[in-house]
Symmetry: C2
Subunit: 228 residues, 2 copies
Amino acid sequence: MAKFPRSAARSRPARPARPAQPARPARKPRDAYHHGNLRQALVDQAVATIRDRGVETLTLRDVGERLRVSRTALYRHFADKDALLAAVATEGFRAFRQALADAWDGVGHTHAGFMQMGRAYVTFARSRPSHYRVMFGGFVEKANCDPDLRGTAESAFAVLVDALAELQQQGFVRAGHPQEIALFVWASVHGFAMLAIDGQLAEHAPSLDGMTEGVIARVWEAVAAPPA
Amino acid sequence: MAKFPRSAARSRPARPARPAQPARPARKPRDAYHHGNLRQALVDQAVATIRDRGVETLTLRDVGERLRVSRTALYRHFADKDALLAAVATEGFRAFRQALADAWDGVGHTHAGFMQMGRAYVTFARSRPSHYRVMFGGFVEKANCDPDLRGTAESAFAVLVDALAELQQQGFVRAGHPQEIALFVWASVHGFAMLAIDGQLAEHAPSLDGMTEGVIARVWEAVAAPPA
DNA sequence: CCGTCAGTGTTGACAACGTCAACATCGTCG
DNA sequence: CGACGATGTTGACGTTGTCAACACTGACGG
């Protein structure tokens, strides 16, 4: 059966194989080559698949097929599968950073903002566990090598550091290196999120939401300035 | 990589492929069938390989080869690769539990014991990061289904819960459900360990050991009873 | 002593996967 | 218009997990 091209022969049985492309603007040489920014489409598709069915089921052939593109088209944009996964992780950190920043800005830069950030963190992880695991699960060992991934992750962490520094200047957070305090906060919430999406909390958890509140509250207590 | 046939032909070039087996006791029908408890040998080999070269490079064929056993012999003892990984994780949790218990018992059941447990936790994770990731990284989604794995992980957590309960009765730890306090502690240290073995702490970390002490100390502050 | 039989290990085969090399096409620029 | 690099396709290869069929081992009942 792998004798003649079966690629695009499944859906859309009556399609003239990429016809005239009538209204091509011809003004965007950067993203309108054959496919129109395939790179981003690949990342999006990979993200969607990972989100729906997990990393381990992600296959390059499937990604290509869903995009009506041959299985190796991807190699014009990524060195290999790991590079694609790195891009997926980067994309995750970008959205992650945004979620944290929105929470922090949403309710005022104060105690409530901190709590909201914590909730946003856990919500993010729980709403896309597989994606979160790609970001943190050591799938991308080359994280150290990919500067883009590294930088994006860094900027997500920076949101937390900046928030804590601001709270500290307002007198809400106790003295100490903001970076170090942020590390403690990050580790605590990250660990909780990991355990939560791992199902490791199943029986100890009558209500995950309630437990989330409890953990965040304890973290806040641990970093808050002692009451006057 | 994966370019040249690196299969056999590496170690022990001159061995007569399972010779006479001269001194087989012949008195142990339970574990001396063909191989003598192959199941345990498979798990041990898998653990060793994972520890040395990571999960992603673990291949069933390689495990069999190293044990001088055909590639499918494993299927007489495990349903599939995931089942083997579950056994690997179980083995990890057993050693993990032991490490925690030893630390707790080693320096007396008090504040020092708690700190020692924390160090043991991080040390365990850092000394076998790949194995630790198999235990917690969601590789075994069927964790919920394997009662053995579930139970062993549970008993490791129980060590922490019991320790906290004891400290609580001694008045060292503040009031509250021990289970819930333990969860906070676990999440915090687990999160830190995860970030540490992920290399995510690389630049924020002049000294990982020092940071470990700091995190554990903060966790203790968070759960300690308020000073009289 | 022999046949049966379950437990255990082996060989052969297959589909799926990641990846490379060679080829085809598109759009741009000299 | 022709060359050329960027982009996409086809074919093929080696590796992997897994199944089916077969072969061996040792105990047990006649």
